[in-house]
Subunit: 440 residues, 2 copies
């Protein structure tokens, strides 16, 4: 079914709804894997305990195990003598309590008279220093629900409840297809500084691969495809089946060689083309055959924003997980920040503390400036209906770095000298908790 | 150098100082790895740009490239005609600006009369739609400082600045040695429910392995060693050299078969034995040969607390990274929480919202109860000098789960029926953002 109507620019909110609809095209298979390799994976079913933990009544201390009754009456003044091998048996932490016994006396409280006799100066009570069967986990109880991301702690609960294997969802596979005749593979660059490269290094696919891995997916990077309609179509047709989701980078703006849209229209459907957000405007959402496809803009910051706002939610939805939120703080703009009405803008910012107040200053807005992200402390969202932020308008910042790192950073504003980077590095080498940040 | 003086119980703060001293025994080597595999690794030196990004003046749009001068005077009323191949050349985003040209006109603004002529209705200005060389990164400037954990964004900056390889620190290798005659390897358990296991399943080493991986280290798990002085010593002697840090699990309390201390005293030094915290009291800190060694208590919760309070900081220090802090919130105890004076206590808690206030209730305090961690929303620290928390004493909670997940959880207190687990699972399956938690 092919739509050829002109698609008007959508708001990010509308685009996210469409993304959520195409996410439902993804049906992840399940697989059974060893528990010891399951950290970070998502359970595909509720997990019930096969055995109790501990699996039997066991000693909670090293010492001797007795029947409490036989110790009654022992005091400091009139110690009681126990026959080793008859009234009392040596036992170590974790060993099962033998039939007929019910109490453990710590080895420190036992006076060994000889190999056959032990003396105690205090009576034991039933269940003293005994861990009862199922004290932690009772066989058949639920250990983990389904749609749960397995933590290191969970490994302990799974193993202790008798699981060697666990049924998890397969990770979503994400095909990442970079397109553009101007692009060079990183290995094509002559890193000898005297030879200037003849193209732009393709890095978006690696950034997106890294993000997909962080978001519980498996990135499958395709090599660069030139701006050639036939070649792009061939690349998609030959690899779409191995992926649950397709990201095609660049080729979705209005340029003369932007074929993405017409290829998708021919083999599927374009649902959104153009989102009123900045960076990330030329993002496309559609379906190629029966697979969801996102046309990711070619500029690095646009690519990342398009990924985080649209692709990340699709991945989490496919795994039935809640989309993670970054920690947030509030700060005052150090100066007025204007923004275009009608466009939702995502600004990369630095944050600094002056006195008791947190202030924020925007970094470069250029969607080609990857360093505006690598250097950012956080991100501000300016809604479409706002013309920007006034100087004293406290605003919410999504943090990209831990707050303690930001607060341990000496911020220098007003000039940026390259030697300050050297100084910052020295600080980070010698005083790891301290950072220096300088920008114009 | 062997100390045989009796070591008094240390406060956690004192123990952390000792841990920080032995951390300085770790000297991580460096290695050069491909940038595309460097995500999450720690830079071993500052990284300077080899090339600029973009590496040349290039088109920021698809269109034609011109010398701005030749377009001056073009208006809606008097369009200007440009000769393709002489005054103007087709250019795509990212292509280099040819010698003598300085401006790009978007293809949408170009009227192609025929193959040789293009008409424009607006003059271009110099540098219009041109990305200048070094707009993002200037060759020789610092891209990343040393001691920096490489993010997906950073991959973009490293590749764009001409790096194919990057020098990083080798990950710290952590030998994890579980000891105990009562232990069974997970694969020794007959998972057929009718056969009750004859020992305790060893799971601590896998939990610690998972935590080490999360903390940028490489876990090396040794198989279970029985409580036999010779065997434990042999295991340590044959494997300590491959590790930067050794964790020996169990065998460090006062029991009859706890050999850890005397083995370490013979081949190194015991610096701390016993910490006034709960769980985690029998933790040991020392040196085996020239390697730092931590004696980790055998109870699962004690093992995790000892790891998080002492081992994690050692790993971060060895990589010159700031110890990560978990997000914190404040809540009121739902009832009085008593605690032992003189012992720093770490309580696992649930958190729930009643009206506008957050309340917290402790889970089981037993150090053998791993489910007190898998079910916990957070952890409360009760200082050694406190006898506990009063009902209306707001207290800080370190979160183990995202706050939004906690706030989306319906909490049922007062009874726990196993069928509620089933209901909770159903909720998590069908309404992923909602959770149910019930406890007595």
């Amino acid at each position: 079914m092919k739509r050829s109507i002109y698609l008007k620019k959508k708001s990010l909110e509308e685009a996210r709804k469409v993304a959520s609809e195409i996410a439902s095209l993804i049906h992840l298979e399940e697989e059974v894997i060893p528990v010891i390799h399951s950290q970070g994976r998502i359970t595909a079913e509720p997990i019930f305990a096969r055995i109790s933990s501990p699996p039997f009544h066991c000693a909670a201390m090293d010492g001797i195990v007795v029947k409490a009754e036989t110790t009654y009456g022992a005091t400091e003044e009139s110690p009681k003598s126990l026959r080793i091998g008859k009234d009392a048996f040596f036992i170590n932490t974790g060993n099962p309590i033998p039939q007929g016994m019910d109490s453990v006396i710590m080895i420190e409280d036992v006076h060994l008279v000889d190999a056959e006799q032990a003396e105690i100066r205090e009576a034991a009570y039933p269940w003293q220093h005994v861990r009862a069967i199922g004290e932690d986990i009772i066989a058949t109880e639920m250990v983990l629900p389904e749609n749960h991301k397995i933590t290191p702690y969970d490994l302990g609960a799974l193993l202790a409840s008798g699981h060697r294997e666990v049924r998890v969802k397969k990770k979503p596979k994400v095909l990442i297809l970079p397109t553009g005749s101007e692009l060079l593979e990183p290995q094509e660059i002559d890193t000898n500084r005297s030879n200037s490269p003849t193209g732009i290094i393709e890095s978006n696919s690696y950034v997106l691969s890294g993000l997909v891995s962080e978001d519980n997916g498996i990135p499958i990077r395709h090599s660069i495809v030139k701006d050639d309609r036939i070649k792009i179509e061939e690349a998609l047709l030959s690899s779409y089946k191995e992926a649950d989701l397709i990201l095609i980078i660049a080729g979705s703006s209005a340029g003369s060689e932007d074929y993405t849209r017409s290829i998708i229209e021919e083999s599927g459907e374009v649902l959104v083309h153009g989102i009123s957000m900045m960076p990330g405007k030329p993002t496309l959402i559609g379906r190629f055959k029966d697979r969801p496809i996102i046309g990711i803009p070619g500029y690095p910051v646009s690519a990342i924003i398009a990924y985080e706002k649209l692709v990340r939610p699709i991945l989490y939805q496919s795994l039935h997980l809640t989309n993670p939120e970054r920690p947030k703080i509030k700060a005052f703009p150090a100066r007025k920040i204007p923004s275009k009405l009608g466009t939702e803008e995502f600004l990369r910012v630095k944050v600094g503390k002056v006195g008791e107040k947190l202030f924020t200053t925007p970094l470069s807005r250029g969607s080609g400036i990857i360093t505006s992200l690598t250097r950012a402390d956080g991100m501000i969202r300016i809604p479409a209906l706002s013309e920007g932020l006034a100087e004293n308008e406290e605003t919410e910042i999504e943090l990209l770095k831990p707050l303690e790192e930001i607060l341990n950073t000496v911020v220098m504003v007003g000039s940026h000298d390259l030697s300050l980077d050297i100084l910052a590095n020295q600080l980070q080498r010698c005083y790891p908790p301290l950072f220096l940040s300088s920008h114009p």
